[in-house]
């Protein structure tokens, strides 16, 4: 206790001496010296802070210019001046939308026609042929969804609606759902991508107005050939109006596509597609298509291009009918036969200026009874931008049993929404 008291007293005494020493009156010289020392200290501090501030300023500028244009050195000064370009916004906005909604596009197609062609006489003089509503989005990391709904004549049809699996085991890709069959090139095109205002006569008469599309599974694989080649196999329901077999019968299709780059600016594609399925007449309907396409499109030039496409189609409808004679004493007998359809078309589309295309098409179809329809068309198309199209077409067709008929068709279409790229 004594010890601690002594210690506290000693500390207090020391403090007091110090305090009174400070309070003691200094001489004027001392004061002046102290003030000078303080001034020098202040100046040194100011210099020090200025240097630090300059350094910080430099770092800030460097960071700013890096942010503005990624990776600029600090020496890069000067704010760029821009006119006619939009100011910035955080890029994340578009990303969030993409996650919440599928990409939706609306593609209306309007037609006005004149002349005495029976096909166009069967349509109103001016009408909205189709409004395609297309949706696409990734379903999950394994599949993408695509649907094209077609609003025609007040009815909503599923033109296509499938899940696409781009990368299955073993390098396969697949489609599951309703899709346009891999039966030639033209059959797979949506109406707004046609090179003419209508489908070639052969496709319309042999495959029907809707073309060859069906619900099922499609599997594709690249082949290890020196040129680009792939094979597609499709198993589908055997659509009623094209095959029409019983519930248990399916339709099968195999397509072999081959492609060659002739030069940087031109290429050639040839495809063979064969399909078969049971029909309602106890027989088999067999379909075949041979398609050849030549394209010329100089790279680095958007003002000229040329495409030539030719397709040959066949449809054999084999049938077996049990005929029961009117006279009951006579035995029933079997009638076997086949309806054979043949057809072909060939067209060119020549781009002669940016957005301007001139095309021509030749058509031919042979009916099972031997009658022939044949004709030709001349087409002028103008795309003011990639999203709008004006088209004028004149067609002359010689129908079996009807004779020569003419048609003038005007088509206007546009696309809104992020409608993506079409397959080549």
């Amino acid at each position: 206790m004594k010890m601690s008291f002594a210690a506290v007293a000693a500390v207090l005494l020391l403090c007091a001496t110090g305090f009174f020493a400070q309070v003691a009156q200094p001489s004027p010289q001392d004061l002046q010296q102290q003030i000078q020392a303080l001034q020098a200290q202040m100046q040194a501090m100011a210099r020090d802070y200025q240097a630090k501030l300059d350094e910080l300023q430099k770092q800030l500028e460097a960071l700013k210019s890096q942010q503005q244009a990624s990776g600029a050195p600090p020496s890069q000064g000067g704010v760029p001046q821009y006119e006619g370009t939009a100011p910035p916004l955080p890029a994340s906005a578009t990303g969030a939308n993409a996650l919440a909604n599928p990409a939706i596009s609306l593609i209306p197609d309007m037609i006005a026609s004149g002349g005495n062609d029976p096909y166009w006489l069967g349509q109103p003089n001016a009408y909205m042929r189709e409004v395609e509503i297309a949706f696409s989005a990734a379903i999950d990391p394994y599949a993408n969804a695509f649907a094209a709904l077609s609003l025609e004549d007040g009815q909503l049809n599923v033109e296509e609606g499938y899940a696409a699996f781009p990368a299955l085991w073993g390098g396969f890709s697949a489609k599951l759902g309703k899709f346009k069959a891999d039966f030639g090139k033209n059959n797979q095109m949506h109406s707004h991508t046609w090179f003419q205002a209508d489908q070639p006569l052969a496709l319309r008469e042999i495959l029907g107005e809707e073309g060859f599309s069906d619900t099922g599974l499609s599997l594709s694989h690249l082949l290890p050939t020196p040129w680009t080649s792939d094979i597609t196999v499709e198993v589908t329901s055997g659509r009623a109006d094209l095959f029409g077999g019983s519930r248990s019968s399916l339709a099968y299709l195999a397509a072999w596509r081959n492609y060659w780059d002739l030069t940087d600016n031109s290429n050639l594609e040839a495809q063979l597609s064969l399909s078969a399925g049971k029909n309602a007449q106890n027989g088999t309907t067999k379909l075949g298509n041979l398609s050849v396409t030549y394209r010329y499109k100089p790279i680095g030039n958007r003002r000229e291009s040329f495409i030539w496409r030719t397709e040959y189609l066949r449809k054999d409808v084999d049938f077996e009918n049990v005929v029961t004679p009117d006279d009951p004493s006579q035995p029933s007998y079997l009638v076997e036969g086949a309806d054979r359809w043949k057809g072909a078309f060939s067209y060119v589309d020549w781009q002669f200026a940016r957005g301007w295309f001139l095309g021509t098409r030749g058509d031919w179809v042979r009916h099972p009874d031997g009658g022939n329809d044949s004709g030709g068309a001349l087409v002028l198309t103008w795309f003011p931008s990639e999203f709008q199209k004006f088209r004028l077409q004149y067609a002359r067709t010689n129908y079996a049993g009807i004779g020569m008929r003419d048609a003038v068709v005007f088509e206007y279409g546009f696309a809104i929404g992020p409608h993506g790229a079409h397959p080549f």
């Binding site: 006619g84 990368a167 290890p224 094979i231 099968y252 594609e269 088999t284 958007r302 003002r303 790229a421």
Partner: protein, 308 residues
């Protein structure tokens, strides 16, 4: 028909059993780039361990590449796909990815490498974006390759990406990435010195392809031949442009070689400006076979034209 079906099934089975054998692979990291500039850069970073190919050619407008089936073969065997991103390839890459049958380069996979992740975009539109604005890229200007400092950032990024895809050579890729990035920065400095006399120079261009370049080197862009991105100029829009060029005393009209040169020539003729036609991608012209050559080519062409 049944026989045909069977044959095709057999063919496809054969193809699928061959695919895992990597019949195409050469033991190197297979890299496919959408643009030739990134292909050049990737080859610098990949060195001897990578084989790099470009889909588009240097003379081509990368907005309008045909998705040719022959690209499928390259994509099918690729370990990595390098793309510009920011929707530049939206018109042609998706159907190729859909058909190539390669899970390694599908969006979300490590091999799907959107290079725009490494840079800071400019000209990102504000508010609503629609096509009344032309072929606008909602995520900003995608032509970032013409700024060597962006290429430096990408080189460093690729060093890491390749290292993840091929860990056995990760150290080399990282080292190559750093070296290439340093070279790109040196190139940037070199061009800055070359073009220093032209800082603030008023220029007119065709499309916004060179905006990153102009921004980097301090050019003052007073107008575009296209009234809006991707939209063909009209007589009225050209008249307004010519008037603005005269007001701002723009003496240089710089355009990519694949644009409509007839229109560009007319505008230059009407205003007394000098037309500078440049390649905008690696390999787009003789003398621009590598990326540094391309950048020097562009800088030289502008410098020479400015001297009259």
């Amino acid at each position: 028909m049944k026989r045909l079906f069977l044959i095709s099934v057999v063919l496809m089975t054969a193809a699928s059993t061959m695919a895992p054998l990597q019949i195409f692979a050469s033991g190197k990291l297979q890299v496919v780039s959408t643009l030739p500039d990134f292909a050049w850069l990737a080859q610098q970073v990949g060195g001897d361990f990578a084989q790099v190919q470009s889909l588009a050619r240097g003379s081509q407008d990368p907005h309008f590449v045909d998705p040719k089936p022959s690209y499928l073969v390259d994509l099918h065997r690729a370990d990595a796909l390098l793309l510009d991103g920011m929707q530049l390839e939206i018109g042609w890459l998706p159907p190729l990815l859909q058909q190539c049958g390669n899970p390694r380069i599908q969006p979300g996979s490590p091999g799907y490498v959107d290079l725009s992740q490494f840079i800071t975009p400019i000209e990102v539109p504000v508010g609503g974006v629609d096509r009344s604005m032309g072929d606008i890229h909602p995520m900003g200007n995608p032509h970032y390759h013409l700024d060597p400092y962006n290429m430096a950032l990408i080189a460093e990024g690729l060093g890491g990406v390749f290292g993840k895809l091929d860990p056995s050579h990760a150290a080399q890729y990282a080292e190559n990435g750093r070296k290439t990035a340093a070279a790109m920065r040196d190139l940037g400095e070199e061009i800055a010195k070359m073009l220093a006399p032209l800082k603030g120079e008023p220029v007119v261009t065709y499309h916004s392809t060179l905006d990153y370049f102009f921004l980097r080197y301090g050019f003052h862009v007073v107008g575009f031949v296209e009234p809006k991105a991707g939209i063909k100029p009209s007589p009225v829009s050209l008249m307004e442009l010519e008037q603005r060029m005269k007001e701002k005393n723009a003496k240089l009209l710089i355009t990519e070689a694949y644009q409509d040169l007839k229109t560009a020539r007319r505008v230059a003729g009407d205003t007394g400006a000098t037309l500078v036609v440049i390649p905008s991608y690696t390999g787009g012209a003789k003398g621009a076979e590598t990326y540094p050559d391309l950048i020097r080519f562009i800088a030289n062409a502008i410098l020479e034209a400015s001297r009259g």
